[in-house]
Symmetry: C2
Subunit: 207 residues, 2 copies
Amino acid sequence: MQGPKSGNITWQQAGVTRTERERARGHRGATLWLTGLPGSGKTTIATRLEKALLGRGCVAYVLDGDNLRHGLSRDLGFAPVDRRENIRRIGEVAKLFTDAGVLVLCAFVSPYRVDREELRENMVRGDFVEIHVKASLATCEERDPKGLYRKARAGGIADMTGIGSPYEPPEHPELQLDTEAETADECVEQALGFLERTGYISPRSAG
Amino acid sequence: MQGPKSGNITWQQAGVTRTERERARGHRGATLWLTGLPGSGKTTIATRLEKALLGRGCVAYVLDGDNLRHGLSRDLGFAPVDRRENIRRIGEVAKLFTDAGVLVLCAFVSPYRVDREELRENMVRGDFVEIHVKASLATCEERDPKGLYRKARAGGIADMTGIGSPYEPPEHPELQLDTEAETADECVEQALGFLERTGYISPRSAG
């Protein structure tokens, strides 16, 4: 029925290892998890950091509410159990991207410490990098890029983080970016410096 | 409260487009969906194709049961409704990788035409490439790399595809790889030729 070509030896697997992928990419894979109040600047920093990483030949990608809620988490609502499942799925997707040797930038409010600790524990040590995007509630409310704070103050969003629901800042994040003290571009430079110092990416070559 | 640095202008988004990502990667993002009977050679071809693509400087990654069932689909069983949700989630993850400019190789039996058509319809035209990994049931059963056929024949797996449950081969796949007629490496060469001809990757430079 079958010739030697379809014998078992030919069909053994020879998978690519993560190390081989990372060597080929020229940088490590990692999940850079940006947490912070709505309006703190997570998505702005994530998208600019992706651009900067792209310019250095790194493979990076932003996961945020826009590309998750309409797809993978389409079946989930905003009840606590759904929010946790949403974060769990995002963590699993981030883990796959990390294994693929990608620097995946996750921009989610993710207000609870316990959820973020679960994400960290689900990954290999060093793969989960918690970045606190910090700004005071007053500043975030003044920026209010999506008009969510106004809506919440008017009673339209009961469990808005910062208003009706708490935000638990990280206690020991790998990196903190203060978006009141620095511009978005300065924050991106800080993040790049951190990634260089810690060996996730190679230092920019001179010239 | 806030200086000009945290003003709205600084915090506008400037996202990286998929086209920019693809230009940086030097190839298109796409979902290469390998469907076929258990034992037909999907994972073998996927892993070797990833290796070959890596060798050409492409960003590729294999999604298969091993890295999905223990993570993202951990909460799902094997009932029909769970199987469909599993395939849906894989499709959404593949879509994210494709958007990230990655050539994502999905190796799943995915026996039903309707499921594969839904995956295709959920993606931009040209992003979903259906690859039929073809081998007769007799050959797959003889290879039986995971001992699943033996177990099914002994009554241990009620709905084993090919035995207790049908496999619906694609009617118009973008590519068919016959693993009875060709070696795994020949199949990989065929897939690379296809990806070159159709412009997903650049032709190999001479020398």
